[in-house]
């Protein structure tokens, strides 16, 4: 790792060392066209999922809950996603670019639900809101007349997920710091510095909670002048337990990771980075001719890894991982079309209906710890994303997975059902929300009185394109095919988001 390279340079005057070319560059305007998107939206109401918000807050909106909430179910579903995608006649063309809006869907306990949402007041959003135009670099679109940034946090869209640690709510994005939010009003308190020298070091969007309530996460520093990953361990009290640098042999992209009771597993997807100007995903090219590099890290020594190689696969999300008989097995959703993986739902961002991808398989990556090799195995499941599982599942065996799924013919090229998958028994239960409904991540909520894995509910959000409304559904996790036991709809739509966190009351 090249410590203090930027600072050294700043003061000593060595020239022409680009510190963060990946996240921080881009010149040519290649953006989408708001008018074209608006025309597409008139033709295809499901594109409301990619429509830009134009106000800093939504709600609070109180609505009646249809059906009957299960006894013991209560709390708030927090969700995050790219929401502000247009300014001054310019539209981002990559789904990951929009500034984050965090939603709170609060079950009030009296048969009503309150929805409120607020833009995360990042430095980027705040200054662009004042300027009335986009000013700073984003993940996948070149913005004209970009302004210089202090560091990566000036370009942090805080738009991917939320988590809660010891009652503190954080908006997450792999580009930089977590931003702490007020859990009630969703107002932004500011970026989190876990330790002074770790300011602005990325804290990615998929932290995993260990059995003791502590939280593991990573941040990739390879495109910022460092080499490898920072491995974060945050205590259940929300203070830093450790931060180690795991050096990596090659540049590799990763969006999330998996873990067992003993190990963290980081799967690096090989890529090359084109010369010249352009945003990160404009210049990134996945290398299908290169193997995945897989780091198996003992939780007691996060700076060291045992490295494995496996056949290439483009992956954003993992399900569970388990460890048995000297093998670690990870479940991963593969994106078969690497161009689609580079810019998922790009056509929808542009107002087109001609969307590709989304039918990738769920596969198992088997790491043999004795032999030191890795191989892929098929599950027979395809067309899912955003898989979750009950974290109470023992990590000596496979968990039941829950995920949005292509259930039947749908109006939108998006998930319209939710499924529960028991991979070893080849069993699945699917609820089909219907042809007009776009289905987002459904989180598993454990029944408070129970310790039995999979005893609980699913809670997830929906967009009903035909009726122009967004909503939320609660299902019994053991009877997914029976559909929602309770459901609530807003009198408006909100953009589709990515990930959430359920905070039980």
């Amino acid at each position: 790792m090249d410590r203090r390279r930027f600072l050294h340079n700043l003061l000593s005057g060595a020239t022409a060392l680009a510190v963060a070319p990946a996240l921080l560059r881009g010149q040519d305007a290649l953006a989408g066209d708001p008018a074209r998107f608006a025309a597409g939206l008139r033709e295809r109401p499901w594109l409301a999922g990619w429509k830009s918000v134009q106000s800093e807050t939504l709600g609070p909106e109180n609505v009646r809950i249809e059906g009957r909430l299960p006894a013991g179910f209560g709390g708030t579903l927090y969700r995050n996603g790219p929401a502000w995608t247009e300014r001054a006649g310019f539209r981002y063309e990559h789904w990951f670019d929009g500034d984050g809006m965090v939603h709170g869907w609060r079950f009030n306990g009296d048969g009503t639900l309150t929805h409120r949402a607020r833009m995360v007041a990042t430095p980027k959003f705040t200054r662009e809101q004042e300027a009335g135009r986009f000013l700073y670099p984003v993940a996948g679109t070149s913005v004209p007349d970009m302004q210089p940034i202090r560091n990566n946090d000036d370009a942090n869209a805080a738009n991917t997920s939320v988590t809660m640690i010891n009652g503190r709510l954080f908006a997450l994005c792999e580009a930089g710091s977590a931003f702490e939010l007020d859990p009630d009003q969703l107002a932004t308190l500011g970026p989190v510095t876990w330790r002074h020298d770790l300011a602005a070091i990325p804290f990615s969007a998929h932290p995993l909670v260990d059995r003791d309530g502590s939280v593991w996460n990573f941040g990739s520093i390879s495109m910022m002048g460092g080499n490898g990953l920072v491995v974060w361990h945050i205590g259940r009290d929300g203070t830093l337990a450790s931060a180690d640098v795991l050096e990596t042999p090659v540049p590799g992209y990763l969006h999330s990771f998996a873990m067992t009771d003993r190990h963290l597993v980081f799967v690096l997807i090989p890529f090359r980075y084109l010369d010249g100007a352009g945003a990160f995903f404009e210049r990134l090219r996945f290398r299908q001719d290169q193997p995945l590099r897989i780091a198996v890290v003992d939780k007691h020594a996060p700076a060291q890894a045992r490295w494995f190689e496996a056949d290439f696969a483009a992956i954003y999300h993992f399900g569970d991982a388990y460890e048995r008989d000297g093998r670690i097995v990870l479940r991963a959703v593969q994106h078969l079309d690497v161009e689609e993986a580079r810019s998922p739902l790009k056509a929808a961002m542009n107002g087109d209906g001609d969307v590709h991808g989304g039918n990738g398989p769920l596969r198992e990556l088997v790491l043999d710890l004795r032999r030191g090799d890795a191989r892929w195995e098929e599950t027979g499941i395809a067309g899912i994303e955003f898989p979750v599982f009950d974290a109470r599942t023992r990590s000596a065996g496979p968990a039941r997975l829950y995920a949005p799924v292509h259930a039947s013919a749908s109006v939108a090229p998006y998930f319209n059902g939710v499924g529960a998958f028991d991979v070893p028994r080849d069993r699945r239960q699917v609820h089909d929300y219907g042809r007009d409904v776009l289905v987002e991540e459904h989180l598993f909520v454990p029944r408070p009185s129970s310790t039995r894995p999979d005893d609980g509910w699913l809670v997830g959000t929906l967009l009903d394109a035909a009726r122009g409304r967004s909503g939320i559904a609660v299902l019994d996790a053991g009877r997914v095919e029976a559909g929602p036991v309770a459901q609530a709809w807003l009198p408006y739509t909100v953009p589709l988001g990515f990930h959430g966190h359920f905070a039980a009351a």
Binding site: L7, S12, I149, N151, D197, A200, G225, V230
Partner: protein, 142 residues
């Protein structure tokens, strides 16, 4: 009458034109985008590649606590020539520009000409000329 008056005036004008390049000028630096109202803003004015590289002392320097999101500094009596200005904002007052473990600055900085690069600009990118007249530049801190 006309002619006799003109003569000394013309001479003075000529004299001024001749010696002006050797006269000193003031440089007013307006800093915009000061984010934190704590610590110390520090400016260095250098007049050479060596000065830019930290191998020669700055020709002038100044510093002051921030007062609002804009600060103005005036450097007096600069000889005509080529200069560059670098600014750092030691926001927590610990005597240095803080950076994180990979060297990313976490406090404010800026350079003359406001080059749009994510690194220290080169001398050529930051330098500008000062002649006989007083000069004023804007630097955006980021």
């Amino acid at each position: 009458m006309h002619r006799s008056l003109c003569r000394p005036l013309c001479l003075v004008a000529l004299l001024i034109a001749t010696i002006a390049p050797a006269q000193a000028a003031d440089l007013t630096v307006t800093l915009r985008g000061v984010r934190a109202q704590t610590g110390l803003i520090k400016l260095a004015v250098v007049d050479s590649q060596a000065g830019w590289d930290g191998q020669a002392p700055p020709v002038q320097g100044d510093g002051a606590p921030p007062r609002g999101d804009t600060s103005i500094f005036v450097f007096k009596d600069l000889e005509p020539g080529t200069y560059a200005v670098m600014v750092t904002h030691d926001e927590n007052g610990n005597g240095k520009l803080d950076s994180n473990m990979i060297g990313m600055p976490t406090e404010g900085y800026g350079f003359s000409n406001n080059p749009r690069v994510m690194r220290k600009p080169t001398w050529d990118e930051a330098r500008f000329d000062i002649g006989a007249q007083d000069a004023a530049i804007d630097i955006a801190l980021h």
